[in-house]
Every structure is written in C-alpha cells, then in structure tokens.
C-alpha cells in the first residue's frame, strides 16, 4: 500500500467506522425481523405446547436478563434488586386488568408508566451510592416491595398471589387467551425489546455508559453528569424488566410474590454469568441455558439447586466467562489470525 493510499484509508478511518455503524442499525433490524419470522413459523413445524411454553418463558426472562445487563455489563451498576421491576410489571399489569376495565394495550402502557415512576424514585436514591452499597440498597428496596406484596393481602392476595386469572379482552385482532396468539405476542415483545435495548447500547448514550463503567471519575471530568446517566439507564432497564414481568403474568395467568423475590434477581445474575456480559446477546443465550438446565435437571433429580450451583461455579470460577464471551473471543482470535496471514 502506498503512503497516499494509506493516508486516504486513514482519513476514511473514522467515516469508515461511521458507515459501519449506520449499516449496523439496518442489520440489527433485519436480524430482528428474521428472528421473529423463525419464531413465528416454529409452531408450524413443532406443535408441542411445551416448546412454545419454553419460548414464552425465554421471552420473559430474556427481556429481564438483557435489561439487567444494561446495568451490569454496560454501566457497571451491579443491581441485586432488579427483580423488583419484574414483579412490579407482573402485579401492576395483573391488577390493572383485574380491577379496571381497560384494554390490554392501555394496561401495558400504564404499567410501564408506573414502573418508570417507581424506578425514578428508587434510582434517584440508589445510583449515587458506591458499588457495594448500590447492590445492598437495591436489594433492600426489592425486599421492601416484596414485603408489601405479601402483606397487602386485600390488594395483592398476599402469599397466594393474584388469583382469578387475568382477563384478556381481544385487541387488534389478538386474543391472548389463545395460546398461539400469546406465543406470537411474547415473541414480538422479546424481539422488539431486544432491538430497542440494542439501539440503546449502540447509541451515543450507550458509549456514555461504557465510559462511566470504565472510569466514572474521568467521565465526570469530560463533562458527563454521571448521576443523571445512571438514573436514566436505571429507569430504562426497569421498563424492559417490567415488560418481562408482564409476559410472565400473562403466561401463568396471575402474579406471585416469587416474581418480586430476590431469587428472581439472583436468576438474572446467574443468567448473565452463564451467557456472558460482554456481548449483547450473552444474556439471551444464558436465558436459554438456564431454563433448559432448569427443565432437564428438575426432570431427572430433585437436587436442582446443587446442579445449578456447580454449573454456575464452573462458569464463574473455572471458565471465568460466559458462553457468549467465549464465542466472541474465539471469533476475534480467528479474525486476527486471518488478518495476520493476510499480511
């Protein structure tokens, strides 16, 4: 390569990157559409209810876990209480549908609004705290919400959960009491949710978050209002977690205190450890892994906890990375090898 050519490549360097980022946006939409199509035609080939149920559960937990990674992997905010928004979504939606006569889209939007307000208040208190205290206080808030759900029996049904099912008035031709319709709606929510979260991570705001994760002090000396950015992502992540909760509520036709218990937050963390936090789809892979593990192990033995514990330890201490982290590293290594050979 002559110096002139090298010079031109250099000056194209930045715009080359920029073109790639615009292409990335189109590519992601295409991938999302393709994924939805694949999921949508799945029932045609595999009609088993169990498989469709599995996918619906993956949607709920996939949204939850990916939203948690927005906090953990992209911003460095380790939240132990993220499950509170999953529970809030389930109960909020369930209660709105049971107690008021609104349509599903209205209940959906209203639940998101309620979640946003709660997340803003809790976030405003928590995000200014340093690492370990942030983890503790988010957990504390989750336990507060869980306790409220347990004790406010007249509203929430206490430890029995919301009973009587969730009314599902038809909207836009969709009847969510129909299993197939529920399946398609869950898939749509998952794909759309992932696409939106992807946009967040690849936007300028996404890079603001990365800067905060890497070096919050320097980020502040560049002019970033760290508190405000953290609060913003805290609320956004809560919205997607809440959506996961709503899918779950529709799936089980109710809401249970377990949806707001710390174990949900724990499962979110496990999923992220299994799938890896350095790639965007890591949590989704982790979700499929955890749910598969859950289903197969509980069928074979009652010692699910021990098996899960061993698997987690293996990934956390042995491999030190999640599955997608490995996949990405392997791919990056191959790519560098190809480049070396090309030289």
């Amino acid at each position: 390569m002559t110096e002139l050519q090298a010079g031109r490549t250099d000056s194209l360097g930045v715009s080359g990157v920029e073109l790639k980022s615009q292409r990335g946006q189109y590519l992601d939409v295409l991938v999302a559409l393709a994924a939805f199509v694949v999921l949508a035609i799945l029932p045609v080939f595999f009609g088993s209810k169990a498989l469709l149920d599995f996918v619906i559960r993956c949607s709920a937990f996939g949204l939850f876990a990916t939203s948690l990674n927005l906090l953990v992997g992209y911003t460095g905010l380790i939240s132990f209480g993220h499950g509170m928004f999953f529970g809030l979504g389930a109960y909020g939606f369930g209660l709105l549908m049971q107690r008021t006569g609104v349509s599903i889209p209205v209940a959906f939007a209203s639940t998101l609004l309620i979640t946003a307000v709660v997340a803003a208040v809790i976030g405003a208190i928590c995000v200014r705290l340093k690492e370990i205290y942030f983890a503790f206080v988010t957990l504390a808030f989750q336990m507060l919400i869980h306790s409220t759900i347990l004790s406010w029996t007249s509203l929430t049904g206490g430890d029995q959960g919301l009973r009587g099912g969730i009314p599902r008035p038809v909207f836009m031709g969709l009847d969510l009491s129909n299993h197939l319709h529920l399946y398609l709606t869950s898939c749509a929510l998952l794909v759309l949710g992932l696409l939106l979260m992807r946009q967040i991570t690849q936007s300028p705001f996404g890079y603001t978050l990365r800067m905060i994760r890497d070096n919050a002090n320097r980020a502040s000396f560049i002019g970033i209002d760290v508190w405000r950015a953290k609060l913003m992502i805290f609320v956004l992540a809560a919205l997607f977690a809440s959506t996961g909760g709503m899918v779950m509520a529709l799936f089980v036709s109710g809401a249970y205190p377990e949806f707001a218990y710390w174990t949900i937050s724990g499962e979110g963390i496990f999923i992220n450890m299994l799938g890896g936090i350095t790639t965007f789809l890591g949590p989704m892979v982790g979700t499929v892994l955890l749910l598969t593990l859950n289903d197969t192990v509980t069928r074979l033995t009652e010692y699910y906890g021990i098996v899960l514990g061993i698997v987690i330890l293996f990934f956390a201490i042995g491999l030190r990375k999640g599955l997608m982290d490995f996949a990405f590293d392997w791919y990056a290594q191959r790519r560098d090898q190809v480049r070396e050979r090309a030289r």
Partner: protein, 252 residues
Amino acid sequence: MLEIRGLSKSFGGVKATDNVSLDFADGSLTAVIGPNGAGKSTFFNLITGALKPDAGRIVLDGIDIAGRSPPDIVRCGIGRAFQVASIFPSLTVQETMLAAVCVDQRRAAMLHRRFPLVEARERAEYAMELLGLADQRGRTAATLSHGDQKLLDIALALVLEPKVLLLDEPTAGMGTEERWRMIDRIRELWERQKITVVFIEHDMDIVFKIAPSIVVLCYGRILATGAPEAIRRNQAVIEAYLGTEHHAGAAV
C-alpha cells in the same frame, strides 16, 4: 484568563492550600513546581472541581467557577490531564475521541441514532493527529504503551477545546528522552492551539528550559512566581526547594 484569589483548603489542621492568589494570562505557559507535599495536585483539584475550596475565588474568563462540580467546570472550559493516565480501557483510541466529542456537543444522552456521530468526526480526527495517535486509532486503550496512554489522556482533555489546559506531571513515569519528546510536543501544542497551559513538573531541567513563567509552591503557599532566571536566583526558592543540593555542595 484564569484568576485565582485567596484560594484556601485545609484537611483537618493541615493547610494544603494557603491563601493562594495567581494570574494566568490568556495564552500563557506556566510551570507549577514545588517539593512533594507542596499542594500542587491539591491546587489542580481545587480548580477542576475535584475538591471544594474552603475560601477564595477561581475566575475563568470572567466566571467564578469555585466550588462547582467537575462536569460544570469542564463545560466552562477547564481541561485536565492526569498524572496517572485516566482513560477508558475498553474503548479504542478512536472511540474514546469520538465519545468525548459527543459529550462536548451535548449529545451524551442521545438514544435514537447510532454511535459514532458524523458531527463528531472532524474534532476527533484533529485531536488524534495533534497528539500523534492517528495510526493507533483502532487499538484498545488498555493495550497502549504507557507513553501513548498519557498522550491519550492529554488528547481527552484537549479534544474538549478547553480555554485552560491543566497537565498534572505530563512526563511522569518516563525516561529522559521520552520526557523531552513529550514536553516538546506539549510546547508545540501550546504554540499551535494558543490556549492557556499550566503544567506540574518535577524535572527542573525541563522546567527551566521550556516554561516562560514559573510558580513555586511550598507548604500550600506561593513561594515565588516569575521568569526562570528570577526563580533560579530566588533565595527562598533555593533554600526550600533547590536548597539541599546547594548545601550538600557547600559541605563538600
């Protein structure tokens, strides 16, 4: 450009900064020197908002910035480079520059478009070239050599187009030759960009050769200010700072 009046800061009983008043003229290049513990870094921390002063005013281009938060102060036009390179390990050089420009262009919270933005391209490119980092653009910051990390650190401060650039020991951790290259580059930057530069430095050879004006701090107080020759001959400075060599020389 930058006027300090009666700046003071104490930690418990220790007066880290004691009634400091200084003027940094627009476009000046000043070295701040002094023995360890003289309060040089505290001085920088007070100006950049890392610490809140107990008393005093810091007037930048007519605006009093004393006591404001770091993001505020940065937006008013103070840039700071750190003694130990403070960068973003997982971002590439290019991404670092582009991200910093995005923030400066008030787009840190933009959600609907993809990073990097076209508008950030020019400034990022310019800053990389200025610091000689353009050929390393694709390298992750964590993989850069120590010297290059310091360059990136300075680039991060410069790319925000500050009115005053504070460099905290820019040659720290470098061998002699690398030091001169770094300080030459800084002098070149200063001449090209025509901004006000203040730097903390320990290497006296460099200070006396490069800086048109020098401030000597000791025990949080200003010991002397002036041109290199005047400082060199200042009795108080010699005693407090350059003194021990002098006495050792005399003893032999």
